[in-house]
Amino acid sequence: MQEKNGAEKSRGWYRLDNSAAVYPAIQRDDYSAIYRFSAVMKKRVDPALLQRAVDLTMPRFPVFNVCIKKGVFWYYLEPNLKPGPFVKPDIANPCMPVRFREDNGYLLRIYFYEKRISVEMYHALTDGAGAMVFLKTLLAEYLRLQGYEIPCTLGVKDVAAPPEEEEAEDAYIRYATSETPRGMKEDKAYPGLGTRAPFYTLNVISGLVSLDELRLTAKSYGASITEYLSAVLIRVLLDKQKREQPHRLRPVALAVPIDLRRFFPSDTLRNFILNVCPAVNPGMGEYTFEEIVRQVHHYMRLNLSRQYLRAKMTGNVRLRFNPFVSRIPLVMKNPLLYINYQRMGNRQYSATLTNPGVFRVPAAMREHIQRAEMMLGQSFAARANCGCISFGNTMAITFAGSIVEPDVEREFFRRLVRDGIHVRVESNREEGNGCHTA
């Protein structure tokens, strides 16, 4: 397997990494695995300057300067020599599905609106950590073009330097060496669905909270910020399930992507994440909020170990390179992967909560940025997902999804307010459009 890791790079193409292989297969007319990172600047964005910054930044990231192609057995990435990507004015429905032949084949988009610069990435290219590196480098270049001195530290890459070999590696293969691989099977979770909004709609509600207040509150429950936010979301989903009075109460589980670079050193800019699924089963009885926090806290502590993650990673990699799976032609593999994802991947959790952490930039950049934002695109099923990111003392918690009712968002932010956290909300939802329950 090691031989397959990056050997083809010198031949001018990239194998999809272990995590990316599934995304083109589950692509639908109305769904793509897309997410967005944004930085809200202190001044209005200059689109011409931003375009120049993009043109300077793109050659530094050959792993993003690609288009996706169909092989006989797998999709693969090929260097994209067409002009682009071009910066565009932002739209009301972010994270639109990707069409592999549109936008000159580029799988990332760059938008601007007032003071906001946004980068949307197709998940087959990279994960949140890779996207953050790209955004930081782009912002640094944009600020340099305005005459500021920005050092190449804290994830800002030097656009004049050649790309590093390790940035293109499939780090899963390097670390998938466990003797006892683990499967991905989990119990079927409560789906947490809502009424699907019309195609092209992505309803976004963003809550801006003070990081210090959030940290203090989480600490008062004996949890980290991610654990506390996960517990709040689980509580909200448990209540939602209870209101729906289902025939059988199912566990409420969250998909929480974990950046594996924290456990396995790697400079890869491609996907290197693994989902863990903290869950609470209401079938076992009522849970108080404190009990949910404790459950999530202990689950995280138990499962976020090098050994467990390596075993899980090995299971996934072995499946990907299984001789039988590999030799199924793509036309047959796509529907099989789609069905498998629908049955295994999608049903195992009720929502996704991702927290890529702090958007750390060099001090010279910090004074030009107001805050960072992160949102997940529409989900495979009709539900809202949550993305959090912090910059300075502000954490942006953004719910995005293609569902009509903002029930989950409403109860989530009300819970934070009840816990003494000041929340400021912003949304792209149209006003005067029906009446929600108060």
């Binding site: 109305d30 739209i91 009301a92 092209y200 509600i205 963003s206 307010v417 909300v425 912003e426």
Partner: protein, 235 residues
Amino acid sequence: MSYCVNCGVELHETAGECPLCKTPVRNPKCPADTVSPKPYPADKGEVPPVSRREIALIVSAMLASVSAACGLLNLLVLNPGRGWSLYIIGACVMLWVILVPPFLTRRARGLPHILMDGCAVALYVGLISLDLRGADWYTAVALPLIGGAMVFVSLLYLLLHRRRRSLLTGIISYIGAAGVYSLGVEWILDRYLIESPGVSWSLVVCTICAALMIPLIVVRRRPALREEARRRFHV
């Protein structure tokens, strides 16, 4: 700044209502700012439709290569005096008409496609009848049968696809249509073969169809039975 009285969250200056609960902002000291830009743009992006031309091209190329290969084999090697390859070429043309247009149109167009498919089948059978000098059976049997099938398929399409119907209604309709169509088939065949149309085997088919339909209609119309069937046959 304004706060939602229900949710307790601070709202954006431009918000006229709380996005979480839709409670309108009524703050005489700080009315909603209608001048400043909203936090998100208002213009919607459009996703281009998925192109299925690639599949259409692959299917076309496959059918064309089969036709060309058989045509050449017929002309150069195998029985050049007899145009057997026309059967295969005709079949390829018929398959092309049936398979490719749905990939070239953005939305499925039921009735035009049914009409085109029927015409393609009629043309192919016509080609066979020309080769076999069977103009009489073509006009007396094949065309009415194909035309009748087209009428039934069109009616079923209008009944089942224009409005959403349950699976049970669909099955009942298909069985009923098959029974009625069998009557027509026997009448057309009898008229051509023995010139005295009557009802014999088609009555057996109709009886079987009716016997299948009656319990399904009962299940369809009785909610308790429907629920029972759903429970027993759930997957």
